[in-house]
């Protein structure tokens, strides 16, 4: 529920990425660029891991960078990207400390940024 494994994976990945940039003193865009560099070109099943990763980063990179610079928590970012959500009747799931205004409040504030990027991505929901 509430995004399940996808939400969990997104929150962990965004959380780690944020901290890597901080600990290794790299910018978010540098970190994002590095994400795919170390993946092998091909897996044993012929999946082009690096190419797939690059596609994903090209797609999500700009919105991620902008959300990182507004200092949103990984929970807010993954809700913004719709990997996480709160189903009717279920409690809100959150791993990181609660942001000021709560997750729905932050999402409301981020609406213009999200609209700008996610409409470009041609995701029907936006």
């Amino acid at each position: 529920i509430n995004g399940g494994y996808y939400c969990f994976g997104c929150t962990m990945a965004v959380g780690v990425l944020q901290q890597i940039a901080e600990v290794h003193n790299a910018s978010i865009s540098e970190s994002l660029e590095s994400v795919c560099k170390y993946l092998p070109e091909l897996s044993s099943r012929g999946t082009h891991m690096r190419r797939e990763c690059q596609t994903l980063i090209r797609l999500l990179g700009p919105v991620l960078i902008e959300l990182f610079y507004t200092h949103e928590t990984p929970d807010v970012i993954c809700h913004a990207l719709r990997f996480c959500y709160t189903e009717t009747g279920e409690r809100e799931c959150r791993l990181f400390p609660l942001p000021k205004g709560g997750i729905p409040g932050r999402l409301e504030k981020l609406r213009p940024i999200l609209r700008k990027h996610l409409v470009k991505l041609n995701i029907p929901e936006f």
Partner: protein, 424 residues
């Protein structure tokens, strides 16, 4: 919104789906053994030395192995007198036994590298092994307590490797490559009715087996919020285990041995982790294990609501059920010890519990976290896997030595003539 339909994630999701049938992906002759490593290949079952001939695979009782290595143990050819090595070095009167584990993620050795989650330990290089890890379902059977056989020196999989298979091979080098790890993440005694059918053994033409039936958690572990009502009942457990034993009796060679391994008391996890920071919260010191467990539970993605919870009453109720299921396993082993024609059954209390107790006695209170997987805060880590193997081996040697097969007096000769026997 379906994330798996996103460009970039689509292929990765497909790769994840492709590993879900848990059968070797590359197995040309369909004998259940593969010549490639990942995707349920030789990391899980002994490497097939001919993937185009069904009668050549680990575990076969060979005819003479004069010209070829029918059981893939690396011993073949003839000596100066023309006598086949297999005859002299692995004589027929020697009891040889392969090893099989039917189990869950603890037996498959589930492990997510800490370097992927803790920013301070993070290296980009650690991701170069990502496809290998995905293709092995995040499991490391090649380093597990039952079928481990290799010391991988990657920093993402640290720790010593000891296994029952390696000890059995040390005892009798003729059993080289005769291992099958059929464990599946999340498997309980119901899933096992299906999973056990992946066992590849000819009851007539293959050597007998030592089978570990080790479902140490999932009959009390699930992700439902009303977790208690989804746990296996004692009646269901008895039914499932008996069905499994009947199935094994009808499909594995005579003189095989089965060890029913008890469920773990997972209360120890919370007790040893609750004050510690999860790797993702170490840098900012803002996420503890109870917070991580509760988040996992909130998404209903947790492997175990019953153990991974800050609710002490729920943990105690989970223990009560686990204890009842252990009683069932104990009773079944006692009642059916010698009732099956082809196998003997015995019970072993979950060795992890003894390992943890011993560790705490030596290393002091609060030290148990050193044996728990840091990322999931749930599974036994590499060090624990190795200690489980050492404890289980000692136990078997002391109480059930006939489970281990015979000591081969020709081990030195085998080593001198055949070296690493072709490796794994």
């Amino acid at each position: 919104l379906e994330p798996c339909s996103w460009p970039g994630l689509k292929r990765i999701c497909e790769l994840a789906d492709s590993v879900l049938d848990h059968n070797p992906a590359v197995d040309l002759d369909g004998d259940g053994f593969s010549s490639v490593e990942a995707l349920r290949g030789s990391a899980w079952r002994g490497r097939d030395c001919s993937d185009v001939q069904k009668n050549i695979r680990p575990g076969v009782i060979p005819d003479s192995d004069k010209d070829l290595d029918a059981n893939c143990n690396g011993i073949y050819g003839v000596d100066a007198n023309g006598v086949p090595y297999e005859e002299t070095l692995c004589p027929k009167n020697l009891t040889s036994r392969g090893i099989v584990v039917i189990g869950d993620s603890a037996m498959a050795h589930f492990h997510i590298p800490e370097q992927w989650v803790d920013a301070e330990l993070f290296t980009w290089e650690s991701f170069s092994h990502l496809p290998y890890v995905l293709e092995n379902e995040f499991d490391w059977p090649m380093m597990s307590s039952t079928t481990g056989f290799v010391n991988i020196t990657w920093p993402i999989s640290p720790g010593p490797v000891h296994s029952i298979y390696l000890q059995m091979k040390e005892r009798n080098r003729c059993v080289h490559r005769d291992y099958q790890n059929l464990a599946v993440n999340g498997a309980d005694s119901f899933d096992t009715q299906y999973n056990q059918k992946r066992l590849s053994r000819d009851p007539v033409n293959d050597y007998p087996l030592l089978v570990l039936f080790a479902l140490v958690g999932n009959d009390v572990c699930n992700s439902y919020p009303d977790t208690l009502s989804h746990m296996t009942t004692p009646e269901e457990m008895r039914n499932n285990v008996l069905k499994s034993l009947e199935y094994l009796n009808s499909t594995i060679p005579a003189d095989s041995k089965v060890l029913l391994v008890g469920l773990a008391d997972g209360r120890v996890l919370y007790d040893s982790m609750y004050q510690r920071f999860h790797p993702i919260g170490r840098h900012n010191q803002d996420i503890t294990y109870p917070q991580f467990y509760d988040y996992f539970g909130c998404l209903q993605a947790t492997p175990c609501q019953g153990w991974m919870t800050s609710n002490a009453t729920l943990r105690d109720l989970t223990f009560e059920r686990a204890d009842k299921l252990n009683q069932v396993l104990f009773d079944v082993a006692k009642t059916y010890k010698n009732k099956f024609t082809n196998l003997e059954v015995n019970f072993l209390e979950c060795p992890l519990m003894t390992v943890l107790e011993d560790w705490e006695r030596v290393h002091g209170p609060g030290s148990i976290h050193q044996l728990v997987e840091a990322v999931d805060g749930f599974h036994p880590n590499q060090k624990a896997q190795s200690l489980i193997a050492q404890y289980s081996w000692k136990y078997l040697g002391k109480y059930l030595p006939h489970y281990l097969g015979d000591l081969n007096p020709h081990n030195h000769q085998i080593r001198d003539i055949f070296g690493d026997q072709g490796g794994h």
